[in-house]
């Protein structure tokens, strides 16, 4: 009799694959909005046309720009004036340290954020000066000269004091770009810093109180507590996170998540860090996967040889 097994196998595999295609790739394509990355080009922001002078930029940042009233610049010896939870109580969120802004953020974004913060961050829907809703970071209106030159100078200064791109670690990228709003419990990160193991319970409780205060402030500022991102690499996936960082409004119109303006490199490092938190065993998985596959293929070959031997007498 003709052997029908190949035909049966084709039928079984065909219907299994059709079902898989419909409930996985196709259904997810329909369920989720497709957002295509623009490679962190920030094409909507004006390019910097002037050549910045870092020395003048430093003067502006420390002086007329009044940046250091709120921002620390640790590498330049300017520490934070307030604890994170006090800063959050005052501004809604703890203003970032400016030491490594120059390398982690796109320069067009930095220039625009100085001149018009809510425009650069795409959260103008939250801040309307006419209704008295001011962005906590006031715009820079110029120090008397050419404002574009002044902004270029400030950006140049921030770039001059930054570490190099290669020295930015995934942890630094996450803490600077995301960590003041989003906790990362699985890496022991809270919005006010790494949660240490305090020996004295009183210290821990004091830390917890600061943390609760910070969370209250940021909840008021953002409308809800920004989520912990520990498992986001599994719940959202790399593509979503990357495109969401690039342009939050494209995914969720009206979200209070600002565009953070990071470079493509910083975004990659943020994702790397999220993998460290939520997909820790990815390298081990690939490696062990290979060994298991080899073992199973050998098992299948031996099983087949056994079958052939046993069945020789049956025909």
């Amino acid at each position: 009799m003709k052997n029908k097994e190949p035909l049966i196998a084709v039928v079984v595999i065909f219907f299994s694959l059709v079902t898989y295609y419909l409930v996985e790739p196709y259904a997810h394509h329909v369920l989720h909005k497709e957002v295509i990355s623009k490679n962190f080009a920030y094409a909507d922001l004006p390019a910097i046309t002037k050549t910045g002078d870092a020395t003048r930029g430093q003067e502006l940042l420390m002086g007329a720009g009044a940046c250091v009233g709120c921002h620390s610049i640790e590498v330049a010896g300017i520490p934070a004036t307030m604890t994170p939870h006090d800063a959050a109580a005052a501004y809604g969120v703890n203003p970032p340290d400016l030491s490594n802004m120059g390398v982690m953020y796109d320069e067009k974004f930095l220039a625009d954020v100085i001149k018009n913060p809510s425009h650069a961050m795409m959260n103008e829907h939250m801040f309307d000066a006419e209704k008295g809703l001011m962005h906590p970071m006031p715009p820079f209106y110029g120090a008397g000269g050419d404002i574009d030159q002044e902004v270029a100078d400030m950006v140049a200064y921030m770039q001059s004091i930054s570490v190099t791109k290669e020295d930015v670690t995934p942890k630094m990228a996450y803490e600077n770009a995301c960590g003041r709003c989003h906790a990362l419990e699985y890496e022991k990160w809270t919005q006010i810093g790494t949660h240490k193991n305090f020996k004295d319970k009183k210290d821990d409780l004091a830390y917890q109180i600061d943390f609760i205060k910070y969370k209250e402030s940021i909840t008021g500022f953002m409308g809800k507590l920004p989520p912990d991102l520990s498992m986001y690499i599994r719940s959202r996936g790399e593509h979503f996170i990357s495109t969401f960082i690039e342009d939050p409004q494209a995914h969720l119109p009206g979200t209070s998540m600002p565009r953070v303006g990071v470079t493509a490199d910083t975004a990659e490092k943020v994702i790397e860090y999220l993998k460290d938190a939520g997909d820790t065993k990815r390298v081990e998985r690939e490696e062990i996967g290979q060994y298991v596959m080899i073992y199973i293929v050998i098992f299948a070959i031996f099983a087949f040889l056994w079958k052939r031997q046993v069945w020789k007498e049956l025909h």
Partner: protein, 404 residues
């Protein structure tokens, strides 16, 4: 009392007490299987292997899982996935096996339907198999609650709500099932209990029944041939292995079973290591939040067809249709009035019935996941009606079937 003699070997010692020689014959070397069967007959062994994988991986997971609404998510996603050596492996094996076992069950069931393996004395095989399917469904659902993610919580909410019975408003029953007004600690504890003890015990008992149901009518074959097992096995034992229509289960058929199991495991472990996303829904990696409903709530893929039979109708009609879909497969041996227990392609109209049923269930499955809007809604509605219509016409088309 039986008479015991001094044992000549360990085997003899055991044989006098446990009759191991007889047991081996009954279970393997003189358990006769027809030769004219194809690889679809290995699905039972694949299911047994997959169930074993679930059992073993489940035992390992159970050592670290915490059935508490405050710590469950953490114990799964942090402790098991990060802290425990190979915890991630056990979890992925468990998650993928739970999904793939349904694929194999569906193949197994459609094989049974195609070859008429539920007829002529094989009704109990079908019925015990259906009981297994339902128990496995409950096992899968209860297991899905345990990571206490968003889909656990909201699927738990939606499914337990079904017990309100629509217009009957049996809210008291829903609260009794949940042990609370909403899914909370009492809910998680009892689903944990169901998942790790009551349902696995029921499954193991039913597997025993399923195997036992197979003994007397024997395994069916792909030609629907009635084999005289007594005569054919004598022929085999007399040395005419090639001429006999039957073979031993062990090692004759076992060797083929293992070849198919080997191929299956290549596919299975490929999924475990490289393509596990389909079995572990991304939404369930967000911790349960009773104040935030996910944008789309859908069950795992293997429940989608029956979910889609519930969805396109008004509440009460939907529930009746859903109830119908849950039990109607049990009635298959009694709705099929034809005397033919042969492959569907030799049964005229039934062949069309079979392929339409298969394709329609895939359509229902796809529509169950897609949002119930526009064309998807219409397709789902028509497919659900077609599903029910098919069961209504089955007794008529089979009654007038010609005897082959």
């Amino acid at each position: 009392m039986a008479h015991f003699t001094k044992a000549t070997s360990v085997k003899d010692w055991l044989d006098q007490r446990l009759a191991i020689v007889k047991v081996e014959k009954v279970m393997a070397s003189e358990y006769w299987i027809p030769k004219n069967i194809n690889f679809l007959w290995a699905m039972g062994m694949i299911l047994a292997v997959t169930f074993s994988l679930l059992l073993v991986s489940g035992i390992f997971l159970l050592m670290y899982y915490q059935p508490n609404i405050d710590t469950a998510f953490y114990s799964v996603n942090y402790t098991i996935m990060r802290e425990v050596d190979f915890g991630w492996l056990w979890r992925h094996v468990h998650g993928v096996a739970a999904s793939v076992i349904f694929l194999i069950m569906y193949i197994h069931m459609f094989t049974g339907i195609y070859y008429g393996s539920y007829k002529k004395g094989r009704e109990m095989i079908w019925l015990s198999g259906m009981l297994l399917f339902v128990t496995f469904s409950a096992e899968a659902f209860s297991g899905y609650m345990l990571p206490w993610g968003q889909m656990s919580y909201w699927a738990g909410m939606v499914i337990t709500n079904l017990f309100a019975g629509g217009s009957l408003h049996a809210d008291g029953l829903v609260e009794w099932i949940r042990g609370d007004y909403v899914p909370a600690q009492a809910f998680l504890s009892r689903f944990f209990m169901l998942h790790v003890i009551l349902l696995p015990l029921a499954i193991m008992g039913l597997i025993g029944l399923h195997f036992a149901a197979l003994r007397i009518p024997h395994v069916n074959n792909q030609d629907g041939e009635e084999i005289d097992f007594e005569a054919e096995s004598k022929k085999y034992l007399a040395g005419d292995k090639a001429g006999s229509k039957v073979m031993r289960f062990g090692n004759d058929f076992m060797s083929k079973d293992m070849t198919i199991v080997g191929l299956y495991l290549v596919f299975f472990f490929y999924l475990v290591f490289y393509n596990y996303g389909f079995a572990m829904d991304p939404v369930n990696f967000d911790p349960a939040d009773g104040l935030k409903t996910p944008a789309h709530i859908y069950p795992e893929w293997y429940f989608l067809w029956s979910y889609e039979i519930l969805r396109p109708f008004s509440v009460d009609v939907g529930l009746i249709a859903f109830g119908f879909a849950q039990v109607i497969f049990f009635a298959l041996p009694f709705l099929d009035r034809s005397p033919n227990a042969v492959a569907a392609n030799r049964r005229g109209l039934f062949a069309i019935w079979f392929w339409v049923m298969l394709v329609n269930m895939i359509v229902l499955t796809a529509m169950g996941k897609l949002p119930p809007e526009g064309i998807y809604s219409t397709i789902g509605y028509v497919a659900a009606l077609l599903f029910m219509a098919q069961w209504l016409v089955l007794p008529f088309i089979t009654k007038f079937e010609k005897k082959v």
